[in-house]
């Protein structure tokens, strides 16, 4: 051991290096994806004259917004080391509930609140399945995927509910200070998520549970309660996505959002949220969603068929995750 004065000195020195040092690894991880994004954009602006226009870029963000909302939500449960496969179905159920209420009662506020509650409730039930019945998240949410989709079909009997009132349409197609409302919503949600994850107890516990559930429990973390809250948040975000999507396409469909959960999970994973749990950030998730948006947009501009787009996106996902694995060595 050192003599008495020395440790202090070292630590003072440490204090000054704190902020840079600790996060360096994380920044690097983020840089990787930023560089990839930059290269993609550079390539696309050379090959297509339409890519680097304000209207196209705004379009990319708008088209990424639903995926971004779902991905933000699912980030919480991926960090716990879990997964949520019910995102797309819950989105549809929430949208449909909103549609039905609008159609029959016309109260916009009640319709929106009901959609949010339905989303949160589905997430809450996922949480209960996982913590009370001890189901693996994969199975619990696979069940919810089917349940929510089924309910949405039951409620609408399969018919679309279209022609939503003007204020609702604003959520999907309006602009605030010249920026599309969905983009504003994503930005707000991003800030909220970022604050929850980095500044609150819930966020800290989220990482602790994903990092080592046993140790978290032994440190006095109420693991089950936290998990239920986190799955509820994820459900709530699916509800929000359901409202925005219905508003954008001006109709609530029971078959909306099929397969969206996979895109959302892909966005989070491309953004560096570890499937093993305990690591990741919403900044990464948002970047992941944008990468996927740019990719889709670029492939469209280059006239690549939607079938091939699937192939490319799958490849990108695999590459992103394996790069991540390599970095860990």
């Amino acid at each position: 051991m050192l003599d008495n004065n020395e440790p202090k000195l070292i630590l003072n020195d440490r204090r000054s290096r704190l902020d840079i040092k600790g996060n360096l690894g994380e920044y690097l991880q983020r840089f990787g994806i930023i560089i990839a994004l930059f290269l993609m954009c550079a390539f696309l602006s050379i090959t297509s004259p339409h890519f680097l226009t304000v209207s196209n870029l705004a379009n990319v963000l708008l088209q990424s917004s639903i995926n971004a909302i779902l991905a933000l939500g699912v980030t919480f449960v991926i960090i716990t080391g879990g997964i949520d496969l019910s995102l797309g179905s819950v989105l549809a159920l929430a949208g449909v509930v909103m549609g039905v209420i609008l159609q029959n009662y016309g109260s916009i506020i009640i319709a929106i609140v009901a959609a949010l509650i339905v989303g949160a409730l589905c997430g809450y039930i996922n949480g209960l399945f996982i913590t009370r019945l001890n189901l693996p998240p994969f199975i619990a949410t696979l069940g919810m995927m089917s349940i929510a989709r089924g309910l949405a079909l039951v409620i609408t009997k399969g018919y679309p509910i279209s022609g939503l009132p003007e204020p609702i349409r604003f959520i999907g197609a309006g602009k605030i200070l010249g920026i599309s409302t969905p983009i504003v919503i994503v930005a707000l949600l991003f800030i909220i998520c970022h604050i929850i994850l980095t500044q609150t107890k819930l966020g800290r516990y989220n990482y602790a549970i994903g990092g080592n559930e046993e140790a978290a429990k032994l440190s006095g973390v109420n693991v089950n309660k936290c998990k239920v809250i986190l799955y509820t948040i994820t459900g709530l975000f699916s509800g929000i996505a359901g409202i925005v999507l219905a508003a954008r396409v001006n109709s609530a469909l029971a078959i909306a959002g099929m397969g969206y959960e996979l895109d959302a999970i892909a966005a989070a994973v491309i953004g560096g949220v570890s499937q093993a749990g305990g690591e990741g950030s919403v900044a990464g998730t948002i970047l992941g969603a944008i990468v996927m948006g740019v990719l889709r947009n670029g492939l469209n501009l280059l006239d690549v068929s939607t079938y091939w787009q699937q192939v490319v996106i799958g490849l990108v996902l695999v590459c992103a995750v394996s790069l991540d694995q390599l970095k860990r060595r």
């Binding site: 040092k21 080592n212 032994l218």
Partner: protein, 498 residues
């Protein structure tokens, strides 16, 4: 003289830490070479370089007269170097046999795994080490000591010229250590060289032939064990004299804070005892005597079938660690890796986790307060870390243990249960930790100290309870306690509790 292995001028830099600086290590055929140094001195790093886990920045490795490059553990194994890591690496959900033969399962002619062979070979290995276990037992059913023995069995199953043992005995009982030493002597006879790392310095004399000392990543020297005494070794390691080994100060012992009455569960039989403010109560016993189980029952991890727990005279219902912490009880668990720490989080986040509430202003965590507080504890326990924001997994084993300690110091609980607190901690730091524990007692905390090191229990405790097969079989005051008395209760030969 012929060396089977020469590591010359090895250097290794990690972000913010020079882990090794021109270190040398020469190993002779058939010797037990002890590697000593404080926590974070670079012992494990040097071994991981030898094993190809880390790449060296500079220096060379000569093995059997040829300069070699080892790029990964597999190459090391094929060359004839195998290692038992400090942090156990078994797969919890696989059986003992599956773990031992993982990645090199013998095949039948038809290409399928020859399970019969796997189990038979495992049985032979276990018998050699006198481990009484079914090869089909799942690893997660085993205690940490048993897991350690399985790691040793696994290393033996490779036909190696050099076996590295990184703190193999930190979790073992005397009986198991003796078995291990017998095996080491056998291996020596057959010409295998052992590189042996341990913080139990008394073992050096028992088993070592030569020793190399590292300090702060620097090479201090290599010595014949028979020419050097323990005090000199300590001085070489620490760079100064270490004063008294057990700096015991008796605190004022007053009111009863914890009382356990007739506690029963699957592993415990009728446990009753009292713990007072300012008291350090030792809990001694052999491995498997139920000490850890008792700690877990009090802390609300394992369920209780019957019996009551009173805190400050009031009966409490503790059914989770959260309840326990709310009632002012803390538990430093025996296995830091799976229970004590969250490896993916940084030092600061680990330290503040049990007491996060006190760092929250309204709903936000006050990071500044967190940093200041954690630096305070890093200094107090002397954790070697480049920053409070460094991930725990990059710290040396002993420094990780110190983080767990800091965590429970920071939790500010009134009753604290230490389960093997000094496991894997170097001599100098041990004394610091003993001082900390005494200080806590002086500040009126009540301490339950579980330890398998009898000198530690004898040196530190005001009173000692001894357990055997889930029961308390004896109680001894500091004055009357001796190793012999403790052992006679611990083996169940004697009982003095009515």
């Amino acid at each position: 003289m012929e060396y089977i292995l020469e590591m010359k001028n090895i250097s290794k830099q990690f972000p913010g830490v020079k882990a090794l600086n021109n270190v040398n290590l020469n190993i002779k055929k058939g010797e037990v070479h002890v590697l000593v140094g404080e926590n974070g001195a670079g012992k494990s790093t040097l071994m991981k370089i030898l094993n190809g886990v880390y790449s060296k920045d500079s220096g060379e490795i000569v093995f059997k007269g040829k300069q070699i490059q080892i790029r990964n553990p597999r190459e090391a194994q094929e060359a004839g170097i195998s290692i038992i890591y400090q942090e156990l690496n078994l797969i919890p959900k696989l059986s003992v046999a599956e773990n031992i033969f993982l990645g090199r399962e013998p095949l039948k002619k038809n290409g399928l795994i020859d399970w019969k062979m796997v189990y038979k070979e495992t049985e032979v290995l276990l018998k050699k080490l006198e481990i009484d276990l079914d090869p089909r037992t799942k690893i997660n059913k085993l205690g940490i000591a048993q897991q350690q023995m399985i790691e040793i069995a696994k290393a033996l199953s490779f036909k190696s010229d050099i076996i590295v043992m990184d703190e193999p005995t930190s979790a073992l009982t005397d009986k198991e250590i003796n078995k291990l030493f017998a095996v080491i002597r056998q291996l020596k006879e057959s010409g295998v060289a052992i590189i042996y790392i341990s913080h139990r310095l008394e073992e050096i004399k028992q088993i070592g032939d030569r020793l190399t000392v590292l300090r702060d990543g620097n090479y201090i020297g290599t010595y014949e064990v028979k020419d050097i005494d323990i005090d000199t070794i300590i001085q070489l390691m620490v760079g100064r004299k270490v004063d008294e080994k057990y700096p015991k100060e008796t605190a004022e012992i007053s009111d009863i804070v914890l009382e356990v009455r007739n506690l029963n569960n699957a592993k415990l039989k009728n446990i009753s005892f009292r713990l007072k403010k300012g008291e350090i109560l030792g809990l001694a016993g052999l491995m498997g005597a139920g000490r850890t189980e008792l700690a877990r029952a009090i802390f609300g991890v394992d369920p209780i079938n019957s019996g009551d727990i009173y805190i400050n005279g009031i009966k409490k219902n503790i059914s989770s660690p959260l309840d326990a912490i709310k009632n002012g009880i803390g538990l430093l668990p025996e296995d830091r890796r799976t229970q004590g720490l969250i490896q993916k989080m940084n030092v600061l986040e680990n330290i503040t986790l049990p007491n996060l509430n006190s760092f929250v202003d309204r709903i936000f965590i006050n990071k500044k307060r967190e940093i200041n507080k954690s630096i305070e504890f890093i200094e107090q326990v002397n954790i070697r870390t480049p920053s409070p924001l460094a991930k725990v997994r990059f710290l040396s084993g002993g420094n990780q243990q110190k983080v767990v300690l800091a965590k429970w110091l920071c939790a500010n609980v009134e009753i604290i249960i230490f389960d093997e607190p000094t496991r894997g901690i170097d001599v100098g730091a041990k004394v610091e930790i003993y001082k900390l524990i005494c200080n806590m007692a002086k500040r009126g905390k009540a301490i339950l100290l579980i330890s398998s090191e009898l000198p530690e229990v004898l040196g530190m405790c005001d009173r000692i309870l001894v357990m055997h097969e889930g029961e308390i079989t004896g109680e001894l005051s500091r004055q009357e306690a001796t190793q012999e008395k403790i052992l006679s209760y611990a083996t169940g030969r004697n009982k003095n509790v009515g």
